[in-house]
Point group: C2
Chain length 445, copies 2
Amino acid sequence: MTSALLTDLYQLNMMQAYLDHGETHTAVFELFFRTLPPRRGFLMAAGLEQALDFLMELRFSPAELDWLARSGRFSKSFVDYLAAFRFTGDVDAMPEGTIFFADEPILRVTAPLSQAQFFETRLINILHFQTTIASKAARLVLAAPDRLMVDFGLRRAHGAEAGLWAARASYVAGFTGSATVLAERVYGIPAFGTMAHSFVQAHDDETKAFENFARSRPKNLTLLIDTYDTETVARNVVKLAPRLRASGITIDAVRIDSGDLAAQAKRVRQILDEAGLTRTAIFASGGLDEDKIQSMLAAGAPIVGFGVGTSLTTSSDVPALDCAYKLQEYAGVARRKRSADKATWPGRKQVWRCFDRNGRMQDDVLSLTDDDAPGMPLLGSIMRGGQPHARPNLDNIRANAAGNLAALPESLRRLDIGATYPVQIGDALVGLTAEVDRRTAQSLG
Amino acid sequence: MTSALLTDLYQLNMMQAYLDHGETHTAVFELFFRTLPPRRGFLMAAGLEQALDFLMELRFSPAELDWLARSGRFSKSFVDYLAAFRFTGDVDAMPEGTIFFADEPILRVTAPLSQAQFFETRLINILHFQTTIASKAARLVLAAPDRLMVDFGLRRAHGAEAGLWAARASYVAGFTGSATVLAERVYGIPAFGTMAHSFVQAHDDETKAFENFARSRPKNLTLLIDTYDTETVARNVVKLAPRLRASGITIDAVRIDSGDLAAQAKRVRQILDEAGLTRTAIFASGGLDEDKIQSMLAAGAPIVGFGVGTSLTTSSDVPALDCAYKLQEYAGVARRKRSADKATWPGRKQVWRCFDRNGRMQDDVLSLTDDDAPGMPLLGSIMRGGQPHARPNLDNIRANAAGNLAALPESLRRLDIGATYPVQIGDALVGLTAEVDRRTAQSLG
């Protein structure tokens, strides 16, 4: 799946044309998000680890080269060039878990033009998706402070990679774990799993189903109680509990997956408490998103954890963001696209962040790397000459995300955003932009 | 990426519990979509080919088995069972490209309980995604009859598999091709590619950029004319044309990617026509969806083809559908889930479709396989005992989709759906449902 051919045909067309005409100077591309949708007051960067793996590992295989040659689209010299193709450039980026805003680059690639051009499609594909999911997950985490949050969304994620990476991106943003077994194996993300309705349905007697499951899977025992009638079943669970306790088995939790979750949780809590099962927790799932979770908790629903599926792994309210990877400098000259509504800021840029005395984010400055703005620079050196520096592990990344979320201003912590975070444009960047426009106007005549 | 561990932990928990208690009888699961969203009057089945590959190829590798054993979660006998795990069951399904509606099963798996249970997560992951994309693509195809429709959305698709499969699903539904090179290599889907803004920006002179590109890539030459100012550039293209023509190079098309596409297309068409470039086509892209395309064509925009990205490959207005895979029968007894708002129809079901005298779809009947409804049955035998029958190729699948779209009633061809397609519930199914409910009520006491 990580074939070098997972790219847009125009990248190969342009590369051949660049090489044919000797356009092999150093290019600078930056990846950024043009605008934030109304329900995203901030975004959280994620996917850099996979982006770096991609840059380092990309090779055209002999079979792919043969296929390209046989397609008749490309010259032999170009296919030979692809056979030796390796990323030899530099990467600067924001660490994963960093909060950022519109127009702020999260990644810069500096490399010979045809290299930097080639990587566009898959770099966006990797970074856009994980950033979209981490940004959604951060909202869910903010909506449910101190609750157990579990990714339940592999089945509705868009394919295998999306499912696996959604587990990773949500864990970066502060989720507790994921139902996806592979995410534990690959990334060490704690796997959570209860039972499905089919388990109950496969038994003629629901209590018998619970008992069978409990005796086979006594650890972290969670019973799913909404297959037929939640409250009736909760009373049956209460009757089952002493029999299991006699065998040393505790019912750690019950899960409700349908209906009015807040109301049912309250009634089930009462049934459990009256029977002394005060330590049996209630876990909820089923079509949840940050708004539903926040309003359930505001209504005092006694729920200790949530399984979030589709809304998380497809970021269903905002399944895509306006992400771009644009040429900002070539052969030492700053460049800029001016298409209607899609104009970009030219040059190599840095973002500086200022904090108030309480450590909360105050404002950012977007300017050129050689500007001298106050605040903390957010992009750092990640690769030089195709070689990466030491990379943070997932625990470090999660800690960075938690620190970033803790520093969010109050207005951005709300699900309905109160204010736009201030991003100033530095004088040096304003000056360069005017200069680029003057030059373009001259060349167009 | 197609690791056997790409599943929910609860599947493995349930399998171990089933096996511990000898629950190994034949189970029947069906995959269906509970409801259609307001802007989807029909859905189009896709992904069966990949689902069958998955069923046939799934194995637990020695490294995965070792990891599972070391996790301490499972018994040795269960890990041994997984080592020999193969799909040995039956599959019935609708052919890809078939149009279907809420509650109609598109796939039925009949297999020993723990097998049929295990495959749930990834079967939904595969079939839900491609069906979501084919259903979106079908709307785009209906909005732009006889136009060239190209998938431009790899970069914003949710990961690698989503990008590749979106190319396939949209081609199934009638797209002309895709920008994704790998989709041509893997599926034979025609690849399309023009140039990006970065190509223009990398040159100090835009006309020089076009000339360089044209001389390197003269076949199907398409120039991107909106990097700076579309109309100015169209006039420069007109001046460049004779110089290229002298070298035997024709400008086949220009692409506009921003601004008011319909208005710009009209002005550019006029500029090209006045210069005699009447055969240079206009291709449009940039944030397109079926509504924008339909209104541009209604306004008479002289556009021959569209590149559709994000709205297609993320199905951005409906990024997920309410898809489920539920136990309908176990050990010869029909089963049903009755959770609030999530009740299912029990038993092994078939869908019969009736057509009017013009060959247009008239209504469907959903009933049990052994019912005897009039019309054409939509589900057929696909695999028996783990062995697939002959499988259709992509051309057959595309033809089936085209035939299905041609048979759509007028009310469902509109982007804003005029009417709900009638799906009747057969008497046999109504009767079985009542019987299952009586039995469940007894068992709950």
